[in-house]
């Protein structure tokens, strides 16, 4: 099998991108480590609040010209950015594998989804149109105009370092706003490359800025009076207890997407081979570090007696374990690899703790991911094989808490109502899937389940760029979502004009 070449060679010290120029930060530098081989591939600064201030000043100064730039001209900038992303498709993908660890197929999928955001945002002349109605009263007309607001901050997570900031960035810029992106300090390299391409695409100075950093920068963003809104994707504790309330206190618009604990229901009539294939990707893709990953698989015995349910559970478990056991692990640039490492050794240890906790609570170990071999001679520190836990019950911590790793919890439910009650007993509401050929069951699931993204025979319910990326309960804090029509409204004020001429 082929191991692809690495685009990042040596160690690069990253800089902030402010007002169209790359500037070294005065803050300390953190190593950026490729989790597959533990090689340092760069160093990222923890920028200072003063550097954020400069970026906000630059973005604020750029805003007036940018909002007056015709939407079609703004769209052309994005179309050029899109073309450059296509030209650099493979480079962008391999950077993600190097900085994050995911497989090259997963990285290419992420690149494609990111480009799709730019493509959809380039339709801004149509997307941003307002509405009007003549004669709301005699001789009086009313108009709704969508206007940009100013400067937005985008705080990205480590699990999709390329794509997630693009859920927001191109839409913010297309609507005439200016942005400050703070990439994850764990894997910021692909956002740096995007900013370089944005510059090459002709997006004016100050419109698209990058400020690296950690909590200090996030805190400064939340408190900064020059920032109109925050887009955040990360953990629920931060989204719920920090981002959302602080934005409320400072009067900012907010999209705060948190964690998840997604259920997959396998109904008695599910097409098992296709269900298992979908589940492998859903449970173990991106090494389980995905807010849309399924984590709990419930074998539902709708219409079955207890003996039949046990037999079905055993059948599903056997097929699931057999498929999971075959997943190859290693460096994502090796084309023989189906699952890469966790983002760092600490995250692996956290997942291991969840596995040990589940076993202590009575779960059965059907496949132990702590025992694994990798393709190639690699340090094992961040790697973990697929784990399958059986006989999991809803009250166990592994069924309730977000593990964010390659761990599947297999559960049973007597019927669909019991399975849905399990979903609703969970504080999260990001996604849920059902595997069935029964339209009535599928409709009931779609209608009743309180999750933002519903999959019918789909393992990863990832909304396309022209639909909102939904989420409910402890998975989302805000009103309007990222992507689609929602995000256009998020980045614009709805101004109403009522007009009469004497």
């Amino acid at each position: 099998m082929v191991v692809l070449s690495e685009p990042i060679q040596g160690i690069r010290d990253l800089e902030n991108y402010i007002d169209g120029f790359w500037e070294p930060s005065e803050g300390p530098l953190l190593d950026i480590v490729n989790p597959a081989n533990l090689q340092t591939i760069g160093r990222v600064p923890l920028s200072t609040p003063a550097e954020l201030d400069r970026a906000v000043d630059a973005a604020t100064a750029a805003f007036d010209d940018w909002r007056r730039t015709p939407p079609l001209a703004r769209a052309r900038c994005l179309l050029r950015l899109r073309d450059l992303m296509e030209q650099h498709f493979e480079e962008l993908s391999r950077i993600q594998t190097q900085e994050h660890g995911k497989t090259i197929d997963e990285s290419r999928g992420e690149t494609r989804r990111g480009i799709e955001m730019v493509e959809v945002a380039a339709g801004i002349p149509s997307l941003m149109m307002g509405k009007n109605l003549e004669d709301i009263a005699s001789g009086i007309d009313e108009f709704l105009i969508r206007q940009p607001l100013g400067v937005f901050a985008i705080i990205g997570p480590y699990n999709f370092p390329f794509m997630v900031p693009l859920w927001f960035a191109p839409f913010a810029v297309a609507t005439g706003n200016c942005i400050i992106v703070k990439p994850s300090s764990e894997d910021p390299l692909s956002q740096v490359r995007i900013a370089e391409l944005a510059e090459e695409a002709g997006i004016p100075n100050g419109v698209w800025n990058i400020v690296h950093g950690g909590r200090d920068v996030v805190g400064a963003m939340l408190d900064h009076p020059g920032i109109q809104g925050i887009c955040f994707v990360g953990s629920t504790p931060v989204a719920k207890d920090v981002i959302y309330p602080r934005c409320g206190a400072t009067g900012k618009r907010v999209i705060a997407q948190g964690g998840a604990k997604n259920y997959a229901l396998v109904m008695p009539d599910a097409d098992l081979p296709h269900t298992i294939a979908a589940c492998m990707t859903s449970f173990y893709g991106n090494a389980g570090q995905r807010c849309l990953a399924n984590a709990n698989l419930v074998v539902v015995g709708e219409g079955m007696n207890e003996t039949e349910l046990e037999a079905r559970y055993a059948e599903v478990a056997e097929a699931f374990v057999a498929a999971a056991r075959g997943i190859t692990i290693g460096y994502g640039l090796d084309e023989a690899v189906q699952m890469g490492p966790l983002r760092d050794p600490g995250k692996k240890q956290n997942v291991v703790r969840h596995i040990e906790g589940a076993l202590a609570e009575g779960a059965t170990l059907l496949l132990d991911g702590r025992e694994f071999t990798t393709i190639g001679d690699l340090p094992p520190d961040a790697f973990l094989g697929p784990t399958v836990l059986g006989d999991v019950t809803p009250e166990m911590a592994v069924a309730r808490e977000e593990v964010f790793g390659p761990v599947a919890a297999l559960m049973r439910a007597r019927d669909m109502d019991e399975a849905i009650a399990m979903i609703h007993g969970n504080p999260f509401g990001n996604a849920a899937s059902i595997f069935t050929n029964n339209g009535r069951w599928a409709r009931k699931f779609r209608y009743v389940v309180q999750c933002g993204n519903i999959g019918i025979n789909i393992g990863i319910v990832a909304p396309m760029a022209f639909f909102p990326f939904s989420g409910m309960k402890d998975s989302f804090f805000g009103v309007l979502h990222g992507q689609g029509e929602d995000v256009i409204r998020f980045f614009t004020e709805s101004k109403v004009v009522i007009e009469r001429w004497f």
Binding site: D105, E110, R113, H274, A277, E335, A336, V337
Partner: protein, 155 residues
């Protein structure tokens, strides 16, 4: 990319990336083969160059389709279980002295390539959407090549 085509798809499960790389290399090496034949048999240049052009077009279209649809294809790694690409990996490299032998080798190459595309398309049909259609089109191109070469054989 160095190494034989067989080496590139041996030693591990076939991910979507590995399958697409194999098809890319298959077309690149086939194109080289037809260019070599065009140089060796000047009287048959139009036929061999047409064959080479179809290989180049297949290469571009398959890669483009993969890159444009890979976000739908994350289950693709599991679509190719059991696929044995080594049976399709033989691409001749040195033009023989006899035209008859060159045509026979070429027809065999085209039949192998078309069978390869059919095999990959069938296995991925239910999990992927656009890629199987692109593969079917590539198979059709290879069948056209085979037909043109057989016509020459029968002259």
């Amino acid at each position: 990319m160095g190494g034989s085509l067989t080496e590139q798809v041996s030693g591990g499960p076939l991910t979507a990336s590995a399958v697409m790389r194999f098809l890319d290399e298959l077309e690149a090496r086939s194109e080289d083969w037809y260019q070599a034949l065009a140089r060796a048999f000047p009287a048959q240049v139009p036929t061999f160059q047409r064959c080479a052009a179809i290989c180049a077009r297949n290469r571009m279209q398959v890669l483009r389709t993969y890159q444009e649809t890979i976000s739908d294809a994350l289950e693709a790694g599991y679509a190719f279980e059991g696929l044995d690409l080594t049976q399709y990996s033989d691409v001749p490299t040195v033009a023989p002295a006899e035209l008859g032998q060159a045509l026979a080798q070429s027809v065999a190459l085209e039949e192998r390539a078309a069978a390869c595309y059919e095999d990959v398309a069938t296995r991925s049909a239910r999990l992927l959407a656009t890629i199987p259609r692109a593969l079917q089109r590539a198979a059709e191109g290879r069948c056209r090549n085979a037909a043109a070469l057989r016509t020459l054989q029968n002259l």
